[in-house]
């Protein structure tokens, strides 16, 4: 009786450990030096940085589009950054926990000045959301405000996979 209960509890415990709310630890905090390190890590490779916010309804469509293309092109690095202040961490984690993000990196603005964090990634960005910056293999940026065009974005992922 007791061993059976013990096995049941162990099953529950392992199950929760796997599907539990572990995403909080995976959302990294963006500081003024983070993006330089991200860029360094993807040296010679194309990658995509997509900004969103828990307060931005059109951002849902952006994340859905990019997450879908990520499933088709899992080798193209995607960095998803929540432009939300640190106090919104629970809402950010809750939202991300409902998405199928695969290997997409997740970040959130830290407590540095918001305009400084924006500037480190994209000096031409004024904070409107969603915002995506497509970096080619030489890290030349193409920035887009609003939900990116699906066909254009798919073509970009295909080219990025081929090392362009």
């Amino acid at each position: 009786m007791i061993p059976a209960l013990s096995r049941f509890v162990l099953f529950l415990w392992l199950g929760l450990a796997v599907i539990g709310p572990v995403r909080a630890a995976e959302v990294q905090t963006l500081t003024p030096t983070s993006f330089a390190a991200i860029r360094e890590r993807f040296s010679g490779r194309a990658f995509l940085v997509a900004f969103w916010s828990v307060n931005c309804e059109p951002c849902k469509a952006e994340i859905t589009l990019i997450a879908g293309l990520h499933r088709s092109y899992p080798d193209v690095p995607v960095v998803l950054i929540a432009a939300d202040q640190p106090s919104l961490r629970p809402a950010v984690v809750r939202f991300l926990g409902r998405q199928e993000l695969g290997r997409i990196e997740t970040w959130q603005f830290g407590d540095a000045a918001e305009e400084r964090l924006r500037y480190t990634v994209d000096p031409t960005w004024h904070g409107e959301l969603p915002r995506a910056v497509f970096f080619d293999a030489k890290h030349a940026p193409t920035a887009h405000s609003g939900v990116p065009d699906a066909a254009w974005t798919k073509a970009w992922f295909a080219a990025a996979r081929n090392g362009k």
Partner: protein, 396 residues
């Protein structure tokens, strides 16, 4: 042995369950881990005696502070909310404060609700000179769990309290009725005739406002209030519109105010500013990221839209606000120069014809949008920064 292992498992299970609960409810009534962090949004006004009143967040509470000496010293804050309360603070959202002719202190803010993108407009008042505040009440009668956000607060020339906000009830109604998608959100407003004890409403001012930008309000001598907001002109042009809100709940037809042709489906997080000078002229500031018209702009506003339009500031200029007194007009905005956030200003002594620009301050840390204020013939900027909280600068 088996019992002790079972006990260990139960303890682990309890810990996991607790973590899950904390994750699921962290956005509700519980204060955030460090509520002071980044909650720099503040609203402010001078009273007739020159005391500066500010609403801001203190340890997670909505609180009101006052300074008798233009920000040199501050008295202890008075808590408006008895308990810490989550308030909408991202983008253009921040609490507002306005003063009534009888010394009333009025405060509004948006409280996010559990569903994403939703909120309710909360209001509290003090009728004892700021010593105590009424329990917060919800301004709107519509109590659906939908968007009621980005509230704006103004007191008209008769002392009536106007609160306007961005409201998605028409979008929800269109979707429920199977109608074509409703463009943007609506602007609704409510009016109090009894110093904020009760509100009449909800009155619709306009369909098709942008969903995520602040609304600018400025009272007129005739008891009406002029509103300026970012609109969504068909199909997706996020330029500005204006209307007159009347105390009886009616509103003038919506007029186009700006024509930059910014066509985009985004949350800009850049609402306009509006001020009326002593000669009843309206001065507007706004942001556009249209391909040929990107930046911060000033224009004089009439029924035919803005005129004498000028762009000001550098490529990173944003979050401008405007105030006017007599023939003087003053604007303040932020610019990030790669190292620091600079607070800059421009002043006109002749109703916006000629301007001079000044550097006001800078900070390396986080900062609120500037609030620009007038007392007598003098203009001031309140700039709430992490480095220098509730900083007040007089414009020369």
């Amino acid at each position: 042995m088996i019992m002790s292992r079972l006990l260990l498992l139960l303890v682990s299970l309890a810990a996991v369950g607790h973590a899950a609960e904390a994750g699921a409810h962290g956005h509700g009534k519980m204060p955030a881990a460090n509520p002071a962090q980044a909650e720099l949004g503040a609203g402010a006004a001078f009273d007739a005696a020159g005391i500066l009143w500010v609403v801001h967040k203190v340890s997670g509470h909505v609180a009101v502070s006052r300074s008798p000496d233009r920000g040199a010293t501050w008295q202890n804050p008075v808590l408006v909310t008895a308990a810490p309360e989550t308030t909408d603070t991202g983008g253009d959202a921040r609490p507002k404060l306005a003063l009534g002719p009888g010394g009333e202190v009025y405060v509004t803010w948006t409280r996010p609700l559990a569903k994403p993108y939703t909120g309710e407009i909360r209001f509290a008042r003090s009728v004892d000179g700021g010593r105590t505040f009424s329990p917060p009440q919800v301004v709107h009668h519509d109590r659906q769990e939908i968007t009621h956000r980005f509230e704006a607060l103004a007191i008209n020339s008769r002392g009536q309290v106007f609160v306007a906000w961005v409201d998605k009830r028409d979008l929800v109604a269109a979707a429920t009725a199977g109608q074509p998608a409703y463009r943007g959100a609506a602007v609704y407003f409510a009016v109090s005739d009894d110093r904020g004890a009760t509100f009449r409403g909800d009155f619709k001012a306009a369909d098709h406002a942008c969903e995520c930008c602040r609304i600018a309000l400025t009272p007129a001598p005739d008891g009406t209030v002029t509103a300026l907001w970012r609109h969504v002109f068909a199909p997706n042009v996020r330029d500005h519109a204006t209307a007159t809100l009347r105390p009886d709940g009616s509103a003038s037809p919506v007029l186009r105010a700006t024509s930059d042709d910014w066509r985009i489906d985004v949350c800009p997080h850049h609402g306009p500013g509006l001020a009326r000078d002593g000669h009843d002229r309206l001065h507007a500031v706004w942001f556009s990221a249209a391909p040929q018209r990107t930046g911060v702009y000033y224009g004089r506003l009439s029924d035919s839209g803005v005129e004498a339009v000028q762009r000001f500031g550098g490529p990173t200029a944003e979050h401008a606000e405007v105030a006017a007194t007599g023939a003087a007009v003053a604007i303040a905005w932020k610019e990030f120069d790669g190292e620091k956030t600079r607070l800059r200003g421009r002043i006109s002594g002749d109703g916006g014809a000629r301007w001079r620009e000044i550097e006001l301050a800078s900070t390396e840390g986080a900062s609120d949008h500037p609030r620009i204020l007038t007392f007598g013939n003098q203009c001031y900027v309140l700039w709430n920064t992490r480095e220098h909280p509730l900083r007040v600068l007089a414009l020369p």
